[in-house]
């Protein structure tokens, strides 16, 4: 799973002076990983001999789970995190409405939400009623 799969990297450009500009956007306003992501991009490019690099953060357009690649969603699922449903299905929910999130382990739709908020701001906590495994759901955003 890479920051490109996640849709966090929005643009990469290079100018006449060979300055590479990588544009990234946060998933959530308070995402504490942004500094780490920025530093890791610079380190990764430096190991490939690219040292003239500038990483900038933009807020607009706001990040959405629609930007996550299909390959990225599959990687999440393989890791045990349920990938986000497409927006139309899930983003505007009534109060107390539960989404039918398939279990990333056994694919059962017989799951329940344990908490609106999970281990990070971008995830909610679910449990599968069939295989009983708790799992994170990457919230539609």
């Amino acid at each position: 799973m890479s920051v490109v799969d996640l849709g966090v990297v929005r643009n990469i450009s290079i100018n006449e002076e060979s300055l590479i500009t990588v544009t990234i956007t946060p998933t959530y306003s308070g995402c504490p990983a942004m500094d780490m992501i920025s530093a890791n991009i610079k380190i990764e490019l430096a190991t490939h001999g690219l040292k003239n690099v500038n990483v900038i953060t933009v807020l607009s357009p706001a990040w959405t789970t629609d930007w996550m690649s299909e390959a990225g969603k599959n990687k999440l699922r393989e890791y045990g995190i349920a990938p986000p449903l497409s927006k139309q299905q899930a983003c505007r929910k009534e109060l107390f409405a539960d989404e039918a999130i398939p279990c990333p382990r056994c694919n059962s739709y017989h799951t329940k939400r344990i908490s609106e908020f999970g281990s990070t701001a971008c995830k909610a906590l679910y449990q599968c009623n069939d295989c009983k495994e708790p799992f994170d759901y990457f919230k539609c955003h």
């Binding site: 959530y28 308070g30 807020l59 908490s115 908020f117 999970g118 701001a121």
Partner: protein
């Protein structure tokens, strides 16, 4: 002058988010159950992220060496422009929930309007933040209903919270000079229409919860002018301690 009003407006947006975020963060490790402890800290993090975005922008406009940290940590109490509601103590779970619900029901229509602000950066921050606030509003609405429609004790507690916090809701909709000026410039929001959305939302959730909406009474105000309740000093004492004791210390 125009710039100065915009900075003040940004600081008000930032201070509201930071102070309620700080209050929520006080729940870290004290939540009634692990899942709700995590919810509180996640919501706190969202608010602090929003505050950072507004502080960063305000710092650029203000210049003179201002940074997001100097704005967050090194102002005096009277320079903070947050509404009194945000600084009210956590109290019991019901009071924290209700404070969040009142505030999210205000932030939601506020950011919806600011998404169309003539100021592009305010529009970008608001667009980003609105997605988060939508979760906060749903989460806190569900809890208000759960408590109001729960046991006699939970009902009593949320009813007590309404009594305690209701006088602090009026201030949200009383425009400060900078709010009026920014609205005129199509940069800020129109608090009158936000109030209508807020009232409808509160009524809808309270009806579902079996709670009565109190009559409009006397509204406590002053936060927007920097005149705070006694709680603010204690918040700042904790919030600012490290930067005051060890200036410019970094994590």
């Amino acid at each position: 002058m125009q710039n100065e009003l915009l900075v003040k407006y940004l600081l008000q947006l930032a201070d509201n988010a930071m102070v309620i975020g700080h209050r929520n963060s006080e729940w870290c490790g004290h939540g009634p159950v692990l899942e709700q402890d995590i919810a509180m800290t996640n919501i706190a993090l969202d608010h602090l992220g929003q505050a950072r975005n507004f502080f960063q922008y305000a710092a650029i406009l203000q210049g003179n060496g201002a940074t997001e940290d100097s704005l967050a940590y090194l102002r005096l109490e009277r320079e903070y422009k947050n509404c009194l509601l945000t600084e009210q103590p956590n109290g019991d779970w019901a009071q924290t929930i209700l404070r969040q619900f009142f505030f999210s029901a205000y932030q939601s229509p506020l950011y919806q309007q600011l998404m169309n602000s003539r100021d592009e950066q305010i529009a970008a921050i608001s667009n980003k933040s609105l997605k988060e606030v939508t979760y906060h509003l749903r989460w806190s609405s569900e809890w208000v209903i759960r408590l109001g429609d729960g046991t006699p004790e939970s009902h009593q507690r949320i009813a007590n919270a309404i009594e305690a916090l209701w006088p602090y809701t009026g201030e949200l909709f009383m425009p400060s000079d900078e709010e009026l000026a920014m609205q005129k410039e199509n940069i800020g929001a129109d608090l009158t229409s936000i109030k209508t959305v807020w009232e409808n939302n509160v009524k809808e959730v309270f009806d579902e919860a079996g709670l009565a909406v109190p009559a409009q009474g006397y509204a406590q105000q002053g936060g927007k002018k920097g005149l705070h309740t006694e709680h603010m000093g204690y918040i700042l004492a904790e919030l600012q301690y490290m930067q005051r004791a060890y200036p410019d210390s970094q994590w």
